[in-house]
Symmetry: C2
Subunit: 346 residues, 2 copies
Amino acid sequence: MTTGTSTQIQLAARPTGWPTAADFSTAVIDLPDLAAGQVRVVNDFISVDPYMRGRMNDVKSYIPPFVLGETMGGGAVGRVVESAAESVAVGSLVVHQYGWRDVVQEDAAGFRVVPEIPNVPSSAYLGVLGMTALTAYVGLLEVARFKEGDTVFVSGAAGAVGSMVGQIARLKGAARVIGSAGTDEKVALLTEKYGFDAAFNYKTGDLATQLAEAAPEGIDVYFDNVGGDHLSAALGAFKDGGRAALCGAISQMNRTDGPTGVQNMVNIVTRGLTLTGFTVGNYLAHFPAFTEQMGAWFAAGDIVFDETVVDGIENSVDAFLGMLRGENTGKMVVKTSVLESTTAAS
Amino acid sequence: MTTGTSTQIQLAARPTGWPTAADFSTAVIDLPDLAAGQVRVVNDFISVDPYMRGRMNDVKSYIPPFVLGETMGGGAVGRVVESAAESVAVGSLVVHQYGWRDVVQEDAAGFRVVPEIPNVPSSAYLGVLGMTALTAYVGLLEVARFKEGDTVFVSGAAGAVGSMVGQIARLKGAARVIGSAGTDEKVALLTEKYGFDAAFNYKTGDLATQLAEAAPEGIDVYFDNVGGDHLSAALGAFKDGGRAALCGAISQMNRTDGPTGVQNMVNIVTRGLTLTGFTVGNYLAHFPAFTEQMGAWFAAGDIVFDETVVDGIENSVDAFLGMLRGENTGKMVVKTSVLESTTAAS
């Protein structure tokens, strides 16, 4: 029987505007003996994602708000160290949604066993092989109905989702892929590493002007991670019949003075545009097709990705806030490396 | 050979903000002899529509701007008084797009012969049997993908398009149909004549509050004729998976201080909404199905409609401005009754 504790980050207060450390608390839980059907998992990595900011508010949304005093939920990947379930063997690599804790002990049904790929870190199951890339994949192909020859604009393009959108668009035959990012380093990464045809820094120049220069003939598809002024600029750049997949609005999440009004809405009528919002949870049926396609690209070396790794469960809040501020390149994860300190004593 | 003249209203200047009479001029044109293949039509009615305001601006749009110094185009219905084309007989009732003139003489290919229905004014071919109702029909059924059991909100609901949307939604099995209008008289008409389940005056109360009261469980479909604050209110009222057909933004057309920013855009993401703009010109393939369905409803007495008729081609500009101000109930048309003064002298 394994003994041990689980360190967990809990939501202590609902933030107004930007979250602070005071909105969270740390709990160290003594783990009881495994019940029948349960497994114990020591996490390798936990995921911090923009959508989590929305769940901190007590408002109606597609998923319920986080509960005050409970542990922050979210994607994580770890290894089974003890099992009282026939379906999951000790040593299995698993993905789950139990979030911000170093050790998790729950019914086996809450975990999905994933294959281990040589030379690929387990964190890839939170990003390029997980929900993040699935978000990019379904958003571009299903929601925005991308077709070969389209010119595509992606905002927040150096982020975890955006960098995948650009690469998938290129692999699927986009005529031109354009990205925006918030630092010159990220802008360079977009064209030099991720294969974007053009990129610009939205903090150092006028958005609409830079977009018009990057896409002189206009855009067919816009993948929106940012909202606000970015969405207004895209509405001004669309060709007739353009389509937008609205994935998130990170620019709006911590505003306390009301959202940025989006201009140019009349272009939706005059240019016959379609704007569709989505959350990946409604597109899980595409997971098998995604896995097959992404696996093939991945094996062929057609997909590159970055991760920003923050070390230690105690730094989860800092990692989350840094991600909201755009300090990450690619997927932001927290390494919760307690495996060596957990003692298996059967 | 017929002799005669044609009185025509031309665009003299591009308006800034609200158009004025000074932006238009009147020309009286001597009509030449008919050329082979031409017909001469004396108009019964001409149509004034919101989209015409957009065409007065010199901007890229789905249809080219009106040309300065040329006659205002648009829908009209009239009778053939002389024909040099075998395909169109004298006496035929025809619909065309030659716009603001009392007599028109062009190639027969520019006219569509329509059947005459007892007790139905020819103006119906500009509204309930024409492009106006087709706009309502395709916007609701094709663009917003209405389905039985939906709760539908229509803005500008007492207008030509809006009053049709509400009735079609009801006939197609809406759970609830809600409309907004700008006078108490129109609000009463919505529930008492057009069969809306609830209606409110957006000028005398808070839009979002009134919409929430009228649709306590939220809306599935929004048909937008108004834009601006109406669209913001709808975004706040949508259920998950809601769909909007964006037909026009009459509230925004004459603004000179920039468009009203639309709030709540993040709801498009969190509620998985789809907003689709459209113009009826891209949906003409549905005209036969529309004609069959609307003809059946019409014959069964299931559709009611109003017209606001302004008399005299010389009052076309006033009619147009009145329509933009919401002075019409149902379809606004101009009666261009010169038939008795045109002399056929063959």
